[in-house]
Amino acid sequence: MARRSSPQVNAGSMADIAFLLLIFFLVTTTIETDSGINRKLPPMDELIDPPIIKERNIFTVVVNKYNQLLVEEKPMEINEIRQAAIEFLDNGAGIGEEECSYCKGNKDPDSSDNPEKAVISLKNDRETSYKVYIAVQNELVAAYNQLRDREFRILYPNLGLSFVEANKRYSDPRTSPSEKENLKPKLSVIKLMYPQKLSEAEPSKTN
């Protein structure tokens, strides 16, 4: 069978295509950054007289060495803890000066007065597995975030963002300074409404 010779391919534009691809990849790849749960440790110098917190304002979470959870003296599965924490934080049983106008909880007198008073105390054993500990931390942070999201959407509906998204925007270096200025007071208002009071007690020794 007679074959026709193919004409020379013009390679002049190859370099252009190569650069086009290069620029495409340059723009689309993001260098991988680490991410995780941020925490702040308490300072070493012990307070001489620690503030007195009412028992009902403390939400105790204990993880034992078998990775089992004890929440407010009751055993619990990890998937229930987010809801339990939300109910505790959003309870708002306080009256008078301690009233919480934005809480939507059950106002159970045996639970927290208002979110500013509510403290979550997380205690673990030395033999608790790190994975489970992180899962619990994650769920507790999720409870705070869920409440903050709700209030953020109520207070600033025209932004169309949740608290978490707005916070991400705020910490993104690509966001313009004017937008940051705009977001900053809004974020701090929400943070004051539901302050993240998560205390990590020193672990108990296994006997």
Partner: protein, 160 residues
């Protein structure tokens, strides 16, 4: 019989290789940009636990890393299989953490020294005892901002 003779040779023309350097350079640039340099070789197993309520750890210049976990398989003979701390390129004991933090802090620029974050890259299979010890050491040197580095995922992946 010239009717049946081909006008030219039937061979295909050779592929033009003039653009080969471009392609090679493109690949080179791509990898140069996309690779994250790891400044210390990992000597511990480091499968991070999963979490989804996470914040990004931007600005690499204000982060110091503490690794912990079981020694990797080629170090098991020498260091045993109990979880250990790795600072920079070598295994360390808990008491060395404070000195490491102070050294790291001194190596950073003045204005960054107060805003440093300690990223704890700890293997999921580690016991909390070791982490609590690290946290106590960090409190001693007033390095209070920490970050439990995780990978992105549902918390349920952490529970067997």
């Amino acid at each position: 019989m010239s009717k049946f003779k081909k006008k030219k040779s039937s061979e295909l023309p050779p592929v033009n290789t003039a653009s080969l350097p471009d392609i090679v350079f493109m690949l080179l640039f791509f990898f140069m940009v996309a690779t994250v340099m790891r400044d210390s070789t990992l000597m511990v197993n480091n499968s991070l636990p999963a979490a989804d309520q996470i914040q990004k750890l931007d600005k690499k210049d204000r982060v110091m890393y503490i690794y912990a976990g079981k020694p990797s398989s080629r170090y098991v003979d020498k260091y045993g299989d109990q979880p250990r701390i790795q600072l920079n390129d070598k295994f360390a004991s808990v008491s060395e953490v404070a000195a490491f933090v102070l050294a790291e802090r001194a190596s950073k620029r003045q204005e960054l020294q107060n805003v440093l974050t300690t990223a704890l890259k700890v293997d999921g299979e580690t016991n909390m005892g070791l982490i609590s010890d690290i946290k106590q050491e960090l409190r001693k040197v007033n390095a209070l901002k920490i970050n439990y580095t995780t990978r992105v995922g549902e918390y349920s992946q952490n529970i067997d």
